[in-house]
């Protein structure tokens, strides 16, 4: 595992950067925010993303993907973070796609992965209950009933819940985790308006599901769920990296231009040292995210690493976006200026599937203390 991008990866990253900067940039996000489509995403953009083959990049060839690997996916997600791109890419490809690949039955993989790879379906991962993500604290929501299962649960903060065609719903029965692929007509959805202006919702399910909706209970309970969540959190960290680096670069750019007291404010050592220290932390973030992505591709054990990656990015994205607003001064507080978007996106991303404290605690526990 080498922590350096090869030429192909650099090309992929640069072409993603080029496309998104052109098409799905911060200006596009502002328009989306001011005038959100009812499904929560722009169908045309989603079509273009699918056309470029990004949706299948981490899905194996046997299931209709390119088998290129997770590192490539992470590079694209990072660029989406930089541009505050809004699309069902994370929900469908990163979250549902990873879940199905990790603990779907072979039939489910055959049915859903090719559609995900082709961008023909929008899917969402429904797992969190209550205000905090807490895997251990999931309620018992599944009961065997004849050939099928009675499932009753309310799942919160489900990204792209409004526009999804199907859901991966994870719950618990008396003996362990349970998960199902559930079609949109079997759940009821309520819009949740979040601070980052991405589409999110509550998914309520109270239905009897047939046995073929059940996912592979064995891999689910033998590490598959944890691995899926680890992989997804590394992907989310890649997006946080993009958000943080972009917020930082905009801020440093501002420090170079803005004058106060007759001087460019970037010449003040107080600000210089804070910026330089943050630069150091962001270099650490770049390295540990890449380490995480490579570890996914290498099939390495992710326990310890995934929570470390998410915790580090959670922490530094807070600092990068807070410093972004503070160093911009008054103008950074206005809605008219873009820097505020980054702080909002960063916090919602952080809280998706476990925030800083959740992952730091888990990292310590996995380290034996």
């Amino acid at each position: 595992m080498s922590l350096v991008l090869n030429e192909e990866e650099i090309m992929l990253r640069d072409s993603a950067a080029g496309f998104l900067a052109e098409t799905a940039n911060v200006e596009a996000f502002r328009k989306h925010r001011d005038n959100p489509p009812p499904t929560g995403f722009d169908q045309a953009l989603w079509g273009s993303i699918a056309e470029m083959g990004w949706c299948g990049i981490a899905i194996d060839e046997a299931h209709g993907g390119l088998g290129y690997g997770f590192t490539g996916l992470g590079l694209i997600i990072e660029q989406m973070g930089k541009n505050l791109t809004v699309s069902p890419f994370n929900s469908t490809v990163l979250m549902a796609g990873t879940a199905i690949a990790q603990f779907g039955t072979e039939a489910q993989k055959q049915e859903w992965l090719p559609k995900i790879a082709a961008g023909e379906v929008v899917m969402a991962l429904a797992i969190q209950e209550g205000s905090h993500f807490d895997l251990e604290g999931l309620s018992t929501s599944v009961l065997a009933q004849g050939d099928g299962f009675a499932v009753k649960a309310e799942k919160r903060q489900v990204l792209d819940a409004m526009g999804a065609d199907a859901y991966v719903v994870v719950g618990k029965d008396a003996s362990g985790y349970q998960a199902f692929v559930v079609a949109a007509d079997q759940v009821s959805i309520r819009d949740q308006s979040m601070v980052d202006a991405r589409s999110s919702g509550t998914v309520a399910i109270d239905a009897t599901l047939s046995a073929d909706a059940q996912m592979d209970i064995e891999s689910l309970n033998k590490g598959g769920l944890e691995r899926a969540l680890d992989v997804i959190n590394i992907g989310l960290a890649a997006e946080l990296l993009g958000v943080s680096v972009e917020a930082f670069e905009r801020t440093v750019g501002f420090l170079r231009e803005r004058k106060q007291f007759g001087k460019v404010i970037g010449s003040f050592q107080g600000l210089q040292h804070r910026a330089a220290d943050l630069f150091a932390e962001l270099e650490l973030c770049k390295a540990i995210v890449l380490k995480g992505l490579r570890a996914v591709d290498a099939g390495d054990d992710l326990s310890g690493l995934a929570s470390a990656v998410k915790a580090k990015l959670a922490q530094i994205s807070q600092r990068a976006t807070n410093e972004g607003v503070q160093m911009h001064g008054g103008i950074g507080m206005t809605d008219e200026y873009d820097i505020g978007f980054f702080i909002k996106r960063a916090r919602v991303l952080e809280h998706t599937l476990g925030d800083f404290h959740y992952h730091l605690d888990r990292y310590a526990l996995q380290g034996g203390y």
Partner: protein, 394 residues
């Protein structure tokens, strides 16, 4: 003492007779605070009744001299009046920038004519004021302002732009810093003028913040005529007045740090996330951060208490007062970040009843401005380093 007791008895009787029942109800929203003005905004018609009655006795501003419409009360009498108001839960009758900012400045720097013209309408809540200080290209460097006032004999012509003018869209008059001279150092040549916001050439536009709508405005001046009699203090010496008012403002903002009661952050976290058998919050790493915040809040409270006690004991305002704005606002930002951790998804909602219209998220975002407005944290640290620690300029 017996005079004070007499005053207390009289005040009590008068308040009982004159304070409307509806004005004895706690303030629940910004609209419940009466700011007066030509077109006052009210959540209840009694707000004006109550203000008028209090103003008649000068009790809207009890310590100002009676000559300018004030109550002419001593410090002790004022204290008694506030106690008696608190006793029946009476709301303050009037709150405005005129009372808290312009009034003190006029009393100190204005001439007799200006005091007589402007103070009584403030006491009566007839004229609402706003403050024209900040400019888009000045920021923390307030003194480098560019709004210029050209001398036209008996009046000036003002051109330029202000930003962060709170309630400019609702105010009747503005007290405003303008540049009357470009030749000296940037602190010189600044003048402090007053004019009517209805003067032709004045326009305002509200500013939307990252936290949503706000009282802040941008204000534009396009050939606005200002009579010279509305110059406060000497021409070119407005910086002294501005500094006087800034210190005032910082003291007000520093009070942000004081967290309100109810459940503590730690207890809320236990409620949301559970505790282990020893009673420790299950989210262990969050627990330390909360404890550190509570600790600093306790210590900051003690510091404010200590400085106040020292001032009361005649030991003057110690150097610790210079940290209030800085530490208080930073503490408030920490508190708001912690609320996000403690409340999780519920704190990240933006609209809708479920999230109380994004109350927590909006307050969190708004708190980011605390360390910018009224002198940034960086400026505060510069001041401490130079004035308190005696470190030299770069």
């Amino acid at each position: 003492m017996s005079d004070l007791n007499t005053f207390r008895t009289e005040a009590r009787a008068w308040l009982e007779a004159n304070c409307p029942e509806s004005m004895r109800v706690p303030i629940r929203s910004f609209e419940d605070i009466y700011n007066g003005g030509r077109n006052p905004e009210m959540s209840h018609p009694d707000q004006k009744v109550w203000c008028d009655r209090m103003a008649e006795r000068g009790w809207t501003v009890p310590e100002w001299p009676t000559a300018y419409g004030g109550g002419g009360l001593s410090k002790e009498e004022t204290k008694v009046l506030r106690e008696e108001m608190a006793r029946i839960g009476a709301r303050p009758a009037l709150d405005s920038f005129g009372i808290s900012m312009l009034g003190p400045a006029l009393l100190k720097f204005g001439n007799e004519e200006q005091k007589l013209e402007h103070l009584p309408p403030i006491v009566r809540g007839e004229i609402r004021w706003c403050q024209g200080y900040s400019e888009p290209n000045a920021g923390s460097d307030l003194a480098s302002l560019a709004t210029r006032a050209e001398d036209k004999g008996d009046h000036y012509i003002v051109n330029g732009q202000k930003i962060w003018t709170s309630y400019a869209d609702k105010a009747d008059w503005i007290f405003c810093l303008v540049r009357t001279d470009n030749t000296g150092s940037k602190h010189e040549g600044i003048s402090f003028v007053l004019f009517d916001m209805a003067t032709p050439g004045v326009t305002t536009r509200p500013i939307k913040l990252i936290s949503g709508s706000s009282p802040f405005c941008e204000t534009f001046f396009d050939d606005v005529p200002v009579l010279k009699k509305n110059l406060v203090g000497e021409e070119g010496k407005g910086w002294t007045i501005a500094k006087y008012l800034l210190t005032h403002e910082r003291e007000m903002i520093s009070s942000f740090g004081a967290a309100s009661g109810k459940k503590t952050l730690g207890q809320r976290a236990v409620h949301n996330m559970g505790a282990d058998v020893s009673g420790r919050l299950r989210a262990g790493t969050l627990r330390s951060v909360i404890a550190q915040y509570q600790l600093d809040t306790l210590a900051f409270g003690a510091t404010m208490e200590k400085v106040t006690a020292e001032a009361k004991a005649g030991q003057g305002l110690g150097p610790a007062s210079s940290i209030f704005k800085y530490y208080g606002t930073e503490l408030n930002k920490r508190r708001n970040e912690l609320l996000l951790s403690v409340e999780g998804e519920s704190a990240l909602g933006w609209d809708g009843e479920e999230y109380s219209e994004g109350e927590i998220a909006r307050a969190w975002l708004r708190s980011k401005g605390n360390s910018i407005e009224g002198g940034t944290s960086e400026v505060q640290l510069n001041i401490v380093a130079k004035r308190v620690l005696g470190l030299p300029d770069a």
